[in-house]
Every structure is written in C-alpha cells, then in structure tokens.
Symmetry: C2
Subunit: 334 residues, 2 copies
C-alpha cells in the first residue's frame, strides 16, 4: 500500500527524536512484546509523548488487516475471537487483539475474562491481547482504540482483531475503523435483542451465527436473509452468513475464508482505498475535535470551569452564550 520512500523518510524523522523513543520504536518493530505494551499504554493513557510516538509510528502502518467483531453480551465474542486468532497463528500470521468493554465506565471494565484469556495465550508471543475500557466521560474510546490499532499495525502484527459489545454508538464508531466488520448473532435471544440487532445489522460485512447448534439458528439465518432481500448494499456486496460453534472451534476456518473473500472483493472492486478515505474523514474530524477541546480545556485551568458551572447552575449565565464566548476567546488568545 504505502510507497517505500516513506520508510526512509521516517528514519530521518526518528533520528531527531529522543533516543529512548527511538529505542522503544526499534524494539516495538522488532517484535518486543514489552515495548509494544509500553507503547500501547503510552497511547491509551495519553502519557507524555503519546502524540509524538504516534507521529513516528504512522509511517510504519497500513499493512495490518483490521477486523472488527461485535455482538451482544453472551454472543460468545471472546471465544470466537480466540479461535480466529489461533487460526491465523496456524497460518503464521501474528495477531493483536483489542477487547473493548465500554459497558463498565466506572469500574474500568470487566477485565477478569480477559485475564483468563491472556494466560491461555501467554506462551505465544504471536498473540497480543489488550483490554480497554471506557475512559472518562467524554468518550474518545473509538479514537483511543484506533490509536492502539495504529500501534499494533506499526509493530508488524498481520492481523488486528477488535472485539466490542454490540450495542450503542461507541461500538459502531469503533467498528467503523475496521477493514472488515463481523456481526455475531446467537439463536434464541428475546425480542429486545432483535431490536438491538436492527441497529448493527447495517454495519455487517459478514454475519456469524454463533452457538449455531442451538435451536433457532435457522430462524436467525432466515431473518438475516429476509432483511437482505429488502435492502441491497450500495457496494454490491451481500454479507455472507457463517455458522459457528466457537466453543468447539467449529466454523472458524469458514469465517476466516469469508473475511478473506470480502478483503479480496474490496481490492477487486477498488473499494479498499475509498473506504479508507471515508474512515479517515471521520477520524480526522474526531481528532480535530479532541485537539480543539484540549485547547479549550487548557484555557480553563483550575477553578475557571467550576466557576462557570456555578454561574450557570445559579442561572446567572446562560450556558449557550457562555460557550460561544469561550470559543471566540480561543481564537483571540492565539
């Protein structure tokens, strides 16, 4: 994808960086898992130098294939992602897994399950698993996930699997950055879950019916087909339905084949680049928003925000005019 000259341009950039970062990046690119973990933490926690690190890593990205997998709680996502990771490992591909759990904003995510998973893969440095929970109240989870995917991409992982709970806007934003989006359904969910599904049906490039040995799998497939017959995709792709029993490893290679098919389709129809540009349009706007917000926050150090909030709470000021004034102020201060 990326012309080779960028590689050399990047070397020139690196030489200007502090030696520790250069070493970190060298180790990261050489496959050092601890360097990878450190780089991801830096980016995830917005630790000092995170932005420069991403700048330095960016020229090394664009090679990893990113697959987003989403489904309701209980759909068996983790197990399926594990199976898929093992499948890619057998093909000698390296894998990074980002498990996003935005359902637990206060406790910092239910990490227990992933700890168990990590132990399972501990012996194989070819699979790197990272759990992420929602940070702060201002979202940005999609943004951070994208940045962590960038680090994994730069580290040379062939596959990045992003796993999210399939409800809410966060997940849609996260999944959107993937090259391929897999929506995981299970038979026998109630009506409310069908309602949830309606929201994520349209982002699916591939459907998986997991736990397909359960009663109702055929009905789920019929429902998907019925929806598809009503509404054709603009890009001409008809998302296939893959049946799996992840707990027994059944259907994993079929899923991997379906993912490869869609990737080939994107290439053949010259859609990959267009999709990439569309993704970057959204990401750039989001990044710009965050950067401007940082700027605004920097203006409101210490007690200023609290004072404003108190004035609004006392109804001494209307918040709408106040915000307009602050935005104007940022321009003036420059």
């Amino acid at each position: 994808m990326r012309p080779d000259e960028h590689g050399s341009a990047q070397v020139a950039t690196l030489s200007c960086l502090a030696p520790t970062r250069t070493i970190l990046i060298d180790r990261l690119r050489a496959g050092d898992t601890r360097a990878l973990a450190r780089a991801i933490s830096t980016v995830e926690n917005r630790a000092p130098g995170w932005s420069d690190l991403l700048k330095a890593l960016f020229p090394h990205t664009g090679k990893a294939r990113i697959v987003g997998l989403t489904g309701a709680p209980g759909a068996g996502k983790s197990t399926l992602v594990d199976q898929l990771a093992k499948h890619y490992r057998k093909q000698n591909q390296t894998v990074g897994i980002i498990a996003v759990d935005p359902t637990s904003p206060y406790t910092g995510g239910a990490i227990l399950g992933d700890r168990i998973r990590m132990q399972d893969h501990y012996s194989d440095p070819g699979i790197y698993i990272r759990s992420m929970a929602t940070r702060g109240s201002l979202g940005g989870l999609a943004r951070t996930t994208a940045d962590v995917a960038t680090v994994l991409d730069a580290s040379g992982r062939n596959r990045v699997l992003i796993e999210t709970v399939g409800v809410g806007q966060d997940e849609v934003d996260i999944v959107r950055l993937a090259d391929v989006t897999v929506v995981i359904l299970v038979p026998g969910m109630g009506d409310d879950v069908q309602t949830i599904k309606a929201g994520i049906m349209e982002i699916a490039d591939i459907f998986v019916i997991n736990k397909s040995d359960r009663e109702g799998a055929e009905r789920v497939e019929r429902e998907i087909r019925a929806m598809q017959s009503l509404d054709a995709r603009k890009d001409g792709w008809t998302p296939p339905v893959v049946k799996t029993v992840a707990s027994e490893g059944k259907g994993t290679s079929e899923l991997a084949a379906a993912i490869a098919d869609y990737e080939a389709y994107l290439q053949k129809e010259n859609l990959a680049f267009r999709k990439n540009v569309e993704n970057w349009q959204e990401r750039l706007v989001e990044m710009l928003r965050d950067a401007m917000l940082d700027e605004a926050r920097a203006q409101m150090d210490g007690g200023t925000l609290e004072r404003y909030a108190a004035e609004v709470a006392e109804h001494k000021r209307d918040p709408y005019s106040l915000v307009e004034e602050i935005v104007r102020g940022i321009g003036e201060l420059k």
Copy 2:
C-alpha cells in the same frame, strides 16, 4: 431555585427576538403541546435558530425534577416509566418523557413501541412523550437529550423522566444529567448481564427490581446489598431497593416515594446545588466540544476534508501532525 429577577431580565431579552420565536415561547410556556413539539424538534434537529431558542428558554428552567431511568433491554423500563408518569399525573403534576434508544444508530431507533405508548396517553396532554435515537456518528446524544430536557423544563413540566437502555457510555452520560438516577434490574438475567450491571451499579441513586414476582428477585436484592456493603457512597446515601411489577402497577408509589426521599436528602444535605454544579461542569465541556467541532467542520468545507483524508490514506501525511496544523490555523485565521 432561580431568583425571580431573572424572569424579568428574560422578558427584556425576548423582546429582541423575532416575533415568531416569541410567540412560540409564549405558547410553549402556556402549555401548548404543538409549540412544545415544534421547539423540541428545532432543538433535536439543530434546525435554524435552535441555539437562540435555548438561550431564550434557559431563564425559564431549573424548576423541573429530572429523573433518569436506565436498565438492560427487557427490564420493562417503558412500562415502569408509564406507571410512574401516571402516578405523577394523579398528583396533578405534568410529565415529560424522553425515551432514548441509542441502540439503533442506522435505522433511527425502534419507535414502534413508543408509538403504541403515545396512543395510550394521547388523551392526556399532561404527559408528553418524545422518542430519541442516536443521530450522526459523533455522539452528542447526551447533549441533545439534555437540551430537550431543557425545553421540557422551560415548558413548565413538573417532572421529566428520561429513559435509556442501560449499556454503554451514552447512557451513563445521559443519566448523569438527571437529579435522580434509577437503575432497573430484573431477576433471572445471565452472567453477561451481571457484567453490564457492574458498570451502571455505581450511578444508581435508587435500585428497582422489576418483574419482582419472578424467581430470583431475592437473589438480585442480596447481590445489590452485598455490593453496597463493600463500597459506601461518598455522599452518605444508601440507594434503596424498590421491588415492582410494573405490568400490574405494583410498587409504583413506593418508587415515587423513594425518588422523593432522595430529592429531600439532596436538599437537606445541601447536595443538590453541588451536584448541579458538577453536572454543569461536564455539560459545559461537552457543549464546548460540540462548538469546537462545528468550528472544525467550518474550516474544512467541501473537498478539503476529503483531500486531507486521501493524503492520510495514501500515507503522504501523518494525521497527528495534520490536526495540529489545522488547530494552529484556526487560531491564525481568527
């Protein structure tokens, strides 16, 4: 809450507005449901004049009690909210209901259920129901919900009930703007739902166990009590557990009493104002973020954003430096 002089200051402001808006606001405040619907649509869709409308309405706000109710799909939120609304109506209070469905970002929400509900209440103008779905990819649902609540508050509704599906960051953001947060649980949910619950347990001022005639209600209560015994709240409040069977109207007045208790506690402990200031701190930052985004978008009209995105997708530019350049540019352009 709000000193009276603001009312008169507001009249002076209104006289400067276009006559149509003045009429709209007058009608809205006189209880005209169609004016209310129009004002909400203006705010929700960010139609021309939405910001000026909110500025003009703000001085009339601060009187409504806002209750947020959240729970997993299938917890019976809608039924419970309906029962609560009817309860308040019997006490001669007017009610506004905002039903937020962020699970369906593409289809625009599953509105069918709410249509049925609306018909049920059609004959009573004292209950106004509005369904909201996620708009656009950049969130802002919490913000829009807050603005719609502001309109309902200004219209003189005594109670605003905000109902959301209890998963994801969106819901937490939405619920945060409420004076009182009610978390609705049901017996007999699987382990994954327990995981979800962990995320919203900490925002509950009151717990409801709905469908409490089902097996397992006692176990849910024990689990809540066990969690509470581990972790006391900073404000000294122990969230009560109210058992309801919303479909039969059981427990509704107990829930209303629990809500009133907490409101009295907030008043007594002088926590209401502090909570209000904290909420406004978050809302102001969010509003600022949105305003910044508008500013950012305005900088990148038409093809500029697409061109930038293409350059990044081709790896000709790194996005992190690009965003910094744009932010600097905004300062210079001012």
